[in-house]
């Protein structure tokens, strides 16, 4: 008698629980509350209306580096057993800001900075906004300035584009 009673109560509780779970899953609405920074927002352009042109570099997210993207700054200080990472990073940031300001509105895409031994090579894609002699002057000016500042040979290699190369519209 007691055993059967216990079994029946167990059965009813199990049934009630099953019912409750079923009720929650089927047509259930619940509030999902989370902290604000669950999503990653670094170096990403969010999908929008579809009218914003975006280059290949901007369209791919940072987890695609070494998969579908390359590196914008190539040096050896981030390898195992090598040092000087912080110095190289600060130099890179300075160079990017300097060139963004010097060639204001003329840059088509991000700079690529390469270091071969002591030599610093800055590769840039430019739009044809200024007459060529101005480009030659600015390139020579930045090379001289940076080589005196960083005490190493600096070379700029620029390629001209008609307009920004669009990969997709987001």
């Amino acid at each position: 008698m007691a055993a059967s009673l216990r079994h029946s109560t167990l059965f009813t509780t199990v049934c009630r629980q099953l019912n409750s779970t079923l009720w929650l899953n089927v047509g259930g609405r619940s509030i999902h509350s989370s902290a604000v920074c669950c999503k990653n927002r670094a170096a990403r352009i969010r999908v929008g209306k579809g009218d914003r042109p975006v280059t290949y570099e901007q369209a791919l997210h940072p987890h695609q580096i070494a998969h579908r993207k390359g590196w914008l700054s190539q040096h050896t200080s981030n390898l195992q057993g090598e040092d000087g990472a912080a110095d190289r990073t600060v130099e890179d940031l300075f160079i990017r800001r300097l060139i963004y300001g010097t060639f204001h509105g003329c840059l088509a895409d991000e700079l690529v900075i390469k270091r071969r031994g002591n030599l610093l090579v800055i590769c840039a894609l430019m739009l044809q906004k200024l007459p060529p002699h101005k480009y030659y002057f600015l390139v020579g000016y930045t090379e001289e300035l940076l080589s005196h500042f960083y005490k190493c040979p600096v070379k700029m290699e620029i390629q001209m584009l008609e307009e920004k190369s669009v990969y997709k519209y987001l």
């Binding site: 902290a35 604000v36 920074c37 669950c38 990653n40 670094a42 070494a66 390359g70 590196w71 190539q74 040096h75 050896t76 981030n78 390898l79 195992q80 057993g81 090598e82 390469k114 270091r115 071969r116 031994g117 030599l119 090579v121 030659y136 020579g140 040979p153 070379k155 290699e157 620029i158 390629q159 001209m160």
Partner: protein, 202 residues
């Protein structure tokens, strides 16, 4: 323009050959360092890889010196290259092994040590939100080329060629194992010398 392009490529060829043998006749006028005027820099028709822009790379042609002291001998020359990009290492390995074969060096081993991944877990937010973190990793791929039984001068030539063409973002570590002649004072073991003296005295 085409004439200057051809001359430029010939100059590059003679420059690399000069390192390997001094008996090859150097083309007349090829000893001068390249001096491309700035105005023609961006109007080149041939790809940049074939043009040798002389300013930062320009070196004086070194003559081969003959000295009386004997050359160093290396049992093993181990070149370890590291990079973040495996494709770059593949192509560099092809280049280095080709150069070694052209020079007639014996490639003992060309292998790929396992990669090393350094991971960091940092807080995603500036102030609070301890539960939300961001993970970064830095991968270092390796490639090792071992050359056995090489002389000092050959190793200097080979290493200089290899290092001048090292791509950006690639680091190199060179380990040399030298062979030396056994010093005279330990040629014979001490106990045999003593036994010879005893026999002599007896």
């Amino acid at each position: 323009m085409t004439a200057s392009m051809r001359i430029a490529s010939v100059r590059l060829l003679s420059k690399t050959r000069h390192y390997f043998s001094s008996e090859v006749a150097v083309q007349p006028g090829a000893r001068t360092v390249h001096h491309q005027p700035a105005s023609t820099r961006n109007v080149c028709l041939i790809p940049v890889a074939f043009l040798h822009k002389g300013r930062a790379y320009g070196t004086q042609s070194s003559s081969v010196t003959v000295t009386e002291e004997p050359d160093l001998l290396f049992q093993k020359l181990s070149v370890l290259v590291k990079s973040h990009d495996k494709a770059v290492l593949d192509s560099y390995e092809f280049f280095a092994t080709l150069a070694a074969k052209e020079l007639g060096l014996t490639l003992a081993k060309v292998f790929e040590p396992p990669k090393n991944i350094e991971r960091l877990t940092l807080l995603k937010s500036v102030h609070i939100f301890k539960k939300h973190r961001v993970q970064y990793e830095m991968r270092t791929h390796y490639r090792c080329i071992e050359i056995s039984r090489i002389t000092g001068s050959t190793s200097r030539v080979y290493l200089e060629y290899i290092q001048r063409n090292l791509p950006e973002g690639v680091a190199m570590e060179v380990t040399k194992t030298a062979i030396e002649k056994v010093p005279d004072h330990i040629q014979m073991p001490l106990w045999s010398v003593q036994s010879q003296e005893k026999q002599g005295s007896q």
